[in-house]
């Protein structure tokens, strides 16, 4: 459905994409995951025809992007990271009189579709208000509505819930859930909980390259290395520096008074960690072996260490 092969894109001295390849199968919700500056938005811009790669190729439904006579724009719906609208228009006018006619929908058909979408994204009460007065969250909902006008087979969503409050996020993610199976969705985000919730397949990108691409459950299983969660009363002192250097430790992350330590050898780690914590006179409140979350996998693969 979506195929990218060895995309390279540079902006001056910055290599935004460095040989990126990915493959999205029909009907899946693909979580395109990566830290800021990893190349997610650049990839989306190339797929939607707004930018051209320096080298490499990309296809949408078999049509090669950028090739004469293979315009894919009627097949896709695009929600940019910061959707922008004509502030003097109302949402109803924007959908009914502007976006729908661009997809050859006019009159009653366009009016019906506009009202339907406004209800889906929860903007029916603001349907006749000028968009200039909309909050960022309302604009994001509006962005989603305009991407869905022509019921596209492919949706490219760049950070679709980043500006929404928890209730709005839930609504949008629920909406994405309803499209599963019918629409192929490429969803870029840095919010791992959302990926864990809605995505079937996850591609983790860092520094313009694909680090790993797998089904979400396979990814968690593949990286289900033992992980110890340690919570203390008085912090970790120099212990973190020590533990990071141990051969049996793969990766350490710290959040407040809690450390998560990914290890290779459970029995050795268990013994060594407990002894070292006691030796440093650290007051341990909790010492527990847990399963890693997608966040642990992501941080490990993108090389972010404590």
């Amino acid at each position: 459905m979506i195929r990218i092969e060895n995309l390279v894109k540079t902006y001056g001295s910055v290599r935004a994409l460095d040989g990126l390849s990915l493959n999205v199968k029909p009907g899946v919700v693909y979580g395109f995951l990566g830290p800021n500056g990893a190349g997610k938005t650049t990839s989306m811009r190339i797929l939607s025809g707004l930018a051209r790669p320096d080298s490499g190729r990309a296809w949408i439904m078999g049509k090669e992007i950028g090739k004469p006579g293979s315009d894919v724009r009627s097949l896709i719906g695009v929600l940019p990271e910061e959707p922008a609208f004509y502030g003097w228009m109302t949402p109803r006018e924007y959908l009914r009189d502007f976006v729908a006619p661009l997809y050859a929908m006019r009159g009653q058909v366009a009016a019906r579709r506009a009202d339907e979408l406004l209800e889906i994204v929860g903007l029916q009460e603001a349907a006749n208000r000028r968009i200039s007065g909309f909050s960022r969250g309302m604009r994001q909902r509006m962005g989603l509505a305009q991407a869905l006008v022509h019921e596209p087979m492919i949706l490219l969503l760049d950070e679709p819930v980043s500006a929404l409050d928890p209730a709005g996020r839930k609504e949008v993610l629920d909406l994405i859930e309803t499209l599963r199976g019918k629409t192929t969705i490429l969803l870029s985000t840095h919010i791992l909980a959302d990926v864990e919730r809605v995505c079937d397949v996850v591609g983790i990108i860092a520094r313009g390259r694909m680090v790993v691409q797998a089904r979400r459950d396979d990814l968690l299983t593949r990286y289900v290395t033992p992980l110890f969660e340690i919570e203390t009363d008085n912090g970790f002192g120099n212990w973190l520096e020590w533990v990071g250097k141990q051969a049996f430790v793969i990766h350490v992350t710290v959040s407040g008074q809690t450390a998560r330590v990914l290890v290779k050898d459970i029995s050795m780690a268990q013994k060594a960690l407990l002894e070292s914590l006691a030796g440093e006179a650290i007051s341990v409140r909790r010492f527990e072996m847990v399963h890693p979350s997608l966040e642990d996998v992501f941080l490990r693969l993108t090389g972010k260490e404590a």
Binding site: R45, L50, A51, E82, A84, D97
Partner: protein, 252 residues
């Protein structure tokens, strides 16, 4: 597709009051030109303590003064208006992100430029119509009726002349990435055209000469400026082509 883009452009001009301001300025220009031509000499004569004999040198206003005033005012205000109206149309869309939203839809980039150009030219045509009708009526009342056909040919020549500035401003707006750069480009284009128009011999072939031709038609003179008409048309086509090519190749 072009129909939808045009509808959006016209609705934007109306909703953002640009159309109203545009028409109002042209209407005022059309009314004030013959009025100023008629009453400026009388106003000068009424100045107290005018040096003796000077009043005799102030000429009696004629139809030619009305036409000259109309041409001068329409050109000056028209050029400023079309540049102000057009210089930000494309740069603003790029800067605000609406261009990125639009260009992910199945629209031709050249159609986007064409819709903006057609809207600007239609507004200009309507403005000159309002301007011309007001001038015709007031000139008939204050002086004598203007030759109808020749006067509208003069306005068509003004349309071509002002159309050059409009298209150059649109091109600047497309070449620029920000509105500030677009404004600099549009006014830079104006300066270049003024300089080229003031160069002896070359100036005779520049679009500014079209106003003299129009004036001559109305006042039954014998000036023509076919080369200027050709140059103006070529400039419009060239600026449009450059704008379209630029947007076709630009990364948004």
């Amino acid at each position: 597709m072009l129909r939808t883009l045009l509808a959006k452009e016209f609705r934007e001009q109306w909703r953002t009051w640009k159309m109203v301001v545009f028409m109002a300025v042209f209407l005022i220009t059309g009314i004030s030109s013959p009025v100023l031509a008629k009453y400026t000499p009388a106003l000068l004569k009424s100045i107290p303590n005018l040096p003796a004999g000077l009043a005799d040198f102030i000429p009696t206003p004629t139809l030619a003064d009305s036409v000259a005033q109309y041409l001068k005012n329409t050109e000056q205000f028209g050029i400023l208006l079309v540049i102000l109206l057009t210089m930000s149309v494309m740069a603003q869309e790029k800067e605000r992100g609406t261009a990125a939203m639009l260009l992910t839809k199945p629209v031709s980039r050249s159609a986007v430029i064409l819709a903006k150009w057609l809207t600007g030219m239609t507004m200009l045509l309507a403005g000159l119509l309002v301007d011309g009708l007001a001038c015709l009526a007031y000139t008939a009342v204050l002086f004598e009726p203007l030759p109808f056909g020749a006067f509208w040919i003069l306005n068509l020549l003004l349309l071509v002349n002002l159309g050059v500035y409009l298209t150059v401003a649109l091109m600047a707006s497309t070449l620029a990435r920000t509105q500030a750069m677009a404004a600099a480009g549009a006014f830079g284009g104006l300066v270049v055209l003024i300089i080229l128009g003031s160069i002896p011999r070359l100036g005779d072939s520049m679009p500014g000469q079209l106003a003299n031709w129009g004036s001559s038609l109305v006042l039954k003179g014998d000036i023509t400026a076919w080369p200027a008409l050709g140059v103006a048309a070529a400039m419009i086509v060239l600026a449009l082509v450059i704008a379209c090519l630029r947007l076709e190749r630009e990364e948004i």
